[in-house]
């Protein structure tokens, strides 16, 4: 994996059944593994946003992948970025034993050091939340695991936003709709 770069692929699609399947198939055909995946409704009604991370050897591979995804009828837009172009976060939850939390001050120190939060405490277990890059959430996990042990751990897929100015989806849609109208008019004229 050392010679490969982690890419973040952003995809906007119509909210139709099976879009994820269509996207996943293209990754499979190109022999690319999906590292993380996050899907949610976008700011525009009816349009979903996929954020996928994947290791690949070059921009060329990513360009081909993204074009093949973009080509699918239900996909509005697909593009890729590297970490430098992005502000990105992942969220991680850690479950630990409440008794161990109370027994020492270690956990408090770790929570402060890693800028994490305690979300829930009951007599059996405590849930800690940490957002950050992969290495940040992993660092907290490693330290917790080493000191008092982690009962359960879960990390979300990446969410990301580009730093540069990119065309807003709403502008792109407006342009498409305008073009559609022009096409319809020109067909009527002809």
């Amino acid at each position: 994996m050392e010679d490969k770069t982690l890419y973040t692929i952003t995809i906007f699609s119509e909210n139709t059944v099976g879009v994820l399947n269509q996207i996943a198939t293209i990754f499979t055909r190109r022999q690319l593994n999906i590292e993380t995946l996050s899907v949610s409704p976008s700011a525009i009604k009816g349009i979903h946003k996929f954020t996928i991370t994947s290791y690949a050897d070059s921009d060329e591979t990513m360009k081909k992948l993204v074009k093949q995804i973009d080509k699918r009828v239900d996909i509005l837009k697909a593009y890729f970025n590297t970490n430098e172009d992005l502000v990105h976060q992942e969220i991680a939850l850690y479950k630990i034993e409440t008794a161990k939390l109370l027994a020492t001050s270690q956990v408090e120190k770790l929570v402060r050091k890693h800028n994490a939060h305690i979300l829930d405490v009951n007599e059996h277990s405590t849930v800690i939340q940490k957002t950050g890059h992969y290495k940040d959430t992993q660092a907290l996990f490693d330290e917790l695991a080493e000191s008092i042990g982690v009962l359960q751990f879960i990390r979300s897929g990446r969410v990301a936003i580009t730093k540069s100015k990119v065309e807003r989806l709403s502008d792109m849609l407006a342009k498409r709709e305008a073009k559609g109208e022009n096409e319809q008019i020109s067909r009527l004229v002809n």
Partner: protein, 575 residues
């Protein structure tokens, strides 16, 4: 809230489907009934004067016939099959159509929506199965979605880079009732089949073409799909550019055109293959640099600046890096480039192709089409058939040696005359695709070249020919071998003929059982007469020609090789 409608104002989903097909001007459907699609067949019964349904003998033939129909007629082919096995039987053809950009709408029945996901009788996950091999696949679960989905399906199948669409219709959607209204789709926000042409690209392409001393064009099926044959001809003639065709680009321009240098690729003609690695500007139009065309990419046209015209952005820079990319429909982009060019002449460069044409004729073609003595050769048969039709016929082929001989030696005067499985290489394609081609172009002679292997993959379609009296001329090149695999075994597997020899039936008797006239030819003296008889015969005809057992297709660039690896056979070498 569920809306209520009176009986009178509503129609069944099946009726809505048929009316939607009529709104899309569908005249012919190839299909096969079964449980989950019965309501549609029932509705079809009321419209049998408006839509001709051709009952094939296996669903695979329905899809291949629809492909042949679409390829000759410029229309979208339609196949209608039942759920489960009916749908899975068409998947090979759907994949074939995806590879070869053929516009198809495949309608499959599906179990009732309440049973979906329950492993019901004849249930298959058709959308999951076909998604990777379709341009669009959609499951209709509600009656009210039928017109909308059909309208989208036809728009998507035929626009942009064409391809197959699958509509999987749950049985209850076919039976339930709903008011009908139909609107043709001409816009989808997530899909742009009319990409804006970048003026800068056009100018860059024109500048490069103007500067070229040794230009070569590669013509693909994109030209035919865009109906841009005339625009291509005007472009090539004005810029005086010799060209080679991909297997699917054949027939876009007449074989006899002075700039036509023949076919590209593994079994293509010498001159365009060799000149690909000598030209200074390579102009690819509506083709996708398939590995059977390029061989080893590391030695492919490295010296050339490449201009790539295509409507599919995903093809640009996919296999070969282009100096200039021209995204758009060839019918639009070619005239824009032509308009920026002055009349050019490359007489000297074109002259350089001649020695290779001569060489190929001397080393390969002469012996193949005029052998004089010995067993009949495959190329000889194709040559005699094309001559006898005045090069005006549609040529459908199966896959293998018969296909390469068909594409090498059949000649064309008219576009949309080569029907063959290019990308997927589907054996069993030839006979049903030829049937579809005849239905799509009833006024034309359709010659189907098949081998003894491929014919037996879909030979049940003799039944369809019989029932509908479909006048196809079937030329069986019988060497009692799976010839192309045998050729590779001879060349690359030490002549170890593993599972390629076939004990064959009496094909003429089988044809006779279906009322198809047939004749078996072993002696060369009989061949001309038999071809004449076949073409003069009204109705289908099977001409079985016993050809050389160990015939070879040359020239051949071994898979992954380059032009300097070209094999000419018979002890000949290129240099």
């Amino acid at each position: 809230m569920k809306e209520e409608y009176s009986e009178q104002s509503t129609i069944s989903g099946s009726e809505a489907l048929i009316r939607s097909l009529l709104a899309e001007e569908v005249e012919t459907i190839f299909g096969y009934p079964g449980g989950a699609i019965m309501p549609v067949f029932d509705a079809l019964y009321d419209h049998r004067d408006e839509i001709k349904h051709i009952l094939v003998r296996h669903e695979q033939a329905a899809i291949h016939a629809a492909q042949g129909y679409a390829r000759v007629s410029r229309k979208t082919g339609v196949a209608l099959v039942t759920s489960g096995p009916g749908a899975t039987n068409v998947i090979t053809g759907v994949t074939d159509a995806m590879m070869d950009s053929t516009p198809l709408v495949v309608i499959s029945g599906q179990v009732a929506s309440g049973l979906l996901g329950s492993d019901a009788f004849q249930e298959a996950d058709v959308i999951g199965l076909t998604m990777p091999v379709t341009k669009w696949a959609y499951q209709i679960r509600r009656v009210e979605d039928i017109p909308w989905a059909v309208s989208r399906a036809f728009y998507i199948a035929a626009s942009g880079r064409p391809g197959p669409v699958v509509l999987d219709i749950a049985k209850d959607a076919q039976l339930n009732r709903h008011p009908f209204s139909y609107k043709k789709t001409d816009f989808l926000r997530s899909y742009d089949p009319f990409p804006d042409v970048e003026e800068d690209d056009i100018r860059a392409a024109a500048a490069l073409i103007r500067s070229a001393k040794k230009p070569l064009a590669l013509v693909g099926q994109g030209v035919i799909l865009a109906n841009a044959e005339e625009e291509l001809k005007a472009f090539l003639e004005k810029a005086d550019i010799p060209f080679g065709s991909t297997i699917l680009g054949l027939s876009a321009i007449a074989s006899s055109h002075p700039l036509n240098c023949g076919m590209l690729g593994m079994h293509g003609n010498l001159s365009p293959n060799i000149k690909t690695n000598e030209c200074d500007v390579l102009i690819a139009i509506g083709m996708r640099f398939d590995d059977r065309v390029t061989g080893n990419l590391n030695t492919y046209a490295r010296q050339a600046k490449i201009i790539h015209f295509d409507i599919d952005e995903a093809e640009l820079n996919k296999n070969v890096k282009a100096t200039v990319k021209v995204l758009g429909n060839a019918k639009q982009t070619l005239p824009m480039v032509t308009g920026l060019l002055e009349k050019q002449s490359h007489a000297e460069w074109i002259e350089e192709f001649k020695p290779y044409e001569q060489k190929e004729f001397e080393c390969v073609i002469k012996e193949e089409i005029h052998p004089g003595a010995g067993p009949i050769k495959m190329g000889e048969v194709v040559h005699k058939v094309t001559e006898a039709t005045g090069n005006k016929a549609v040529c459908a082929t199966d896959v293998g040696q018969n296909q390469m001989m068909g594409t090498r030696y059949f000649k064309f005067t008219q576009t949309r005359s080569m029907i063959t499985s290019g990308g997927l290489g589907t054996m069993g394609f030839g006979l049903p695709a030829g049937i579809g081609a005849k239905v799509g172009a009833p006024g034309r002679t359709v010659c189907i070249f098949v081998g003894d292997g491929g014919l037996q993959m879909t030979m049940q379609e003799f039944g369809t020919i019989m029932e509908y009296d479909i006048d196809v001329k079937i030329i069986l090149l019988n060497n009692n071998f799976l010839g192309m695999v045998r050729q590779w075994q001879e060349l690359f597997f030490d002549e170890r003929y593993s599972e390629t020899r076939m004990k064959n039936p009496d094909f003429i008797k089988i044809a006779d059982a279906y009322g198809i006239k047939g004749r078996k030819v072993i002696d060369r003296e009989e061949l001309d007469g038999a071809i004449e008889e076949m073409l003069a015969h009204k109705g289908a005809y099977l001409l079985e020609v016993v050809v050389e057992t160990k015939g070879m297709v040359y020239p051949m660039i071994p898979a992954g090789g380059c032009v300097s690896d070209i094999l000419l056979g018979n002890g000949h070498s290129l240099y």
